[in-house]
Symmetry: C2
Subunit: 213 residues, 2 copies
């Protein structure tokens, strides 16, 4: 169907525009009009595809997550050991392309709306759920179940916290500080583990190959 193709193309285009607008103008500054302007089309057209603003932002949330999800997958399929899978999740979350104040701004703007919009809530729950699941599959092979749960939560909470700080003020936390913090956490949780460090090194390398600069 040609219709469906164009549909997908446009929704992706406009979701992206919405995400970018969000990151530059904040939630209160994001209007359908501005998103349309950024995409170079009329407001009517954007509404034609999404029906209403809420759904547009919903798709923006999905859009923002899709990139990250791809990055995680790309590392995950190249992982051979549990430790490598853990570091795939970590590294992907602080990839140079994604872990930027701009993107963190947009993410923050959407997060703030989550409590008031069940639809966003479902999406975010799914996102967290997937991260937890990715971590658990790996960690269960490295620790007892209960500890694995705790640790998985600690890792993902720390990731969220670092993203939050990244979005908060420009000069705040960058990739290096973030990774250093994650390493402080990991080294404290699992001290003296050559396997862990080897995995970290390998994933780091893979990531810098996949995504140079």
């Amino acid at each position: 169907m040609k219709r469906n193709k164009l549909w997908r193309l446009r929704t992706e285009e406009y979701s992206k525009a919405a995400f970018e607008t969000l990151s530059e103008e904040g939630l209160s500054g994001t209007t359908v009009e501005k998103v349309a302007k950024r995409a170079g089309v009329s407001k009517t057209n954007v509404l034609h595809y999404f029906g209403n603003k809420a759904r547009l932002l919903e798709m923006a949330l999905r859009y923002g997550n899709a990139d990250l999800a791809r990055e995680v997958s790309a590392l995950l399929i190249r992982s051979n050991t549990p430790w490598e899978r853990v570091y795939s999740v970590i590294e992907a979350n602080f990839s140079r392309q994604f872990f930027t104040p701009k993107i963190a701004h947009a993410w923050l703007s959407l997060l703030a709306e989550i409590p008031y919009n069940p639809s966003y809530q479902r999406i975010q729950t799914a996102i967290h759920q997937r991260m937890r699941s990715n971590l658990m599959h790996a960690l269960e092979q490295l620790a007892e179940r209960e500890r694995a749960e705790e640790v998985a939560l600690a890792i993902s909470v720390m990731i969220d916290g670092l993203w939050l700080r990244c979005g908060l003020h420009e000069g705040g936390i960058g990739r290096d500080t973030a990774l250093q913090q994650m390493e402080l956490l990991m080294e404290s949780l699992f001290p003296n583990s050559p396997e862990r460090l080897a995995a970290k090194a390998r994933i780091d390398e893979i990531q810098s190959i996949l995504n140079p600069g």
Copy 2:
């Protein structure tokens, strides 16, 4: 000055109303009108005291933080050792009264605006700065400076992350899970430290006396 007294009273009242509105309606749902209604006065009156909405929300941010700051102080002045000071910061941040989804919602809503409003940014920077300072004074006596810096950051980032999760969805993270996570972090960072555990126990006790329930 009687004038100043009333002024203080009203600004406090309205800041509180704004904070509460924020927590129930989110940022997009918070209008000057609604805040006024909640305070039982006219919109004009609220505007009379704050001039504009931005300054109202700015005061709401300060208001929300003031409570927390008092809680930290109350524990801090009763602390005798560095470890107790560290746990004062931690416990205060997860006090039963403050660490609630409602308050976390309001806090999230304001955070999302920080990147777009220099004034909020300054306030938030000051808040983070004070937390860092509180932690550093204590941690410097427990580790070398560089490690103290790292650890202080780790603790405050984890606190932020847990607040974020608390605000995200109702059934998410509660005080118990949060404190358990903090303890996982602390135990990993400083294993086998009876002094630390004693301090934790003492602050926990003081806190439950000051703030029963």
